[in-house]
């Protein structure tokens, strides 16, 4: 699914092993992600993350040291997170030489939350344009209408 995906990356001046530990160790995650992280880094492990006064369940999907780590979050409490009720966060670590690592994060699933199944399927069948591109286009049109 190409639409409504957040895709960002950063080049880090550290070996892949160091970056892996920063991304996956719960006490490190507390520094860059959530205020509280109760999570065992194993595929299928259920955990909990807290942001200020809000918190929610997290389920680990992929643990493939030192290059791939993913989890699902933002699903309703008491439900198993699956495609359609949650967001998937995927980290990919790519060594660039011995001392540098490219860290990429892709977050997907925003467009699928709270959708009826039939609509999800139709969307999957029909998706064509990128979401960001669409918003850009609308913003341009709006700006034109305002100035004109």
């Amino acid at each position: 699914m190409a639409d409504l995906v957040i895709d960002r990356d950063v080049l880090i001046e550290a070996p892949v092993g160091v970056v892996w530990r920063t991304v996956t160790e719960p006490d490190q995650m507390r520094q860059w992600f959530a205020d509280r992280v109760d999570l065992v880094i194993e595929p299928g492990a259920h955990g909990y993350m807290e942001f200020g006064d809000q918190g929610g369940p997290v389920v680990v999907e992929t643990v493939d040291p030192p290059t791939r780590f993913s989890f699902r979050w933002n699903h309703p409490r008491g439900e198993e997170p699956v495609a359609g009720n949650s967001m998937l966060v995927e980290f990919t670590l790519t060594p660039e030489g011995d001392e540098r690592t490219r860290l990429r994060v892709v977050e997907s699933g925003h467009e699928l939350r709270a959708w009826p199944d039939a609509e999800k399927q139709r969307y999957a069948d029909e998706h064509r344009d990128g979401w960001g591109e669409f918003l850009d286009r609308l913003a341009t049109l709006l700006a034109k209408r305002r100035s004109g």
Binding site: A14, T22, E111, F134
Partner: protein
Amino acid sequence: MTAQADDELWSAIADPSRRRVLDLVVSNGAVSASWLAGHVPFTRQAVSKHLVVLEQAGLISRRKHGREVLYQVEAGRLDQAARALADLATQWDRRLDTIKRLAEAAHAENQKEEP
């Protein structure tokens, strides 16, 4: 924006047919459902359904013009949608920057210990 309002917004815009309807409303100003139906390859009923969803998400509003109902874009809400998406990306940029800082500091520390 509340999580529910977010969901309404995402699902309203994520549908390609609905985007097409919204696009037409944005480009043409106040238009009626029948005018829209004449400009898209789907039925008048489908257009009406899309208009309801877009209106619920706050992206368009309706007003009476004589006997006709005209639809127009809610620019503020659309800007908000664009910003919400940009915010999500910014949030991840901030997190990646923090990871970079932490990892580079840890690496520098390791090198001090093992010269």
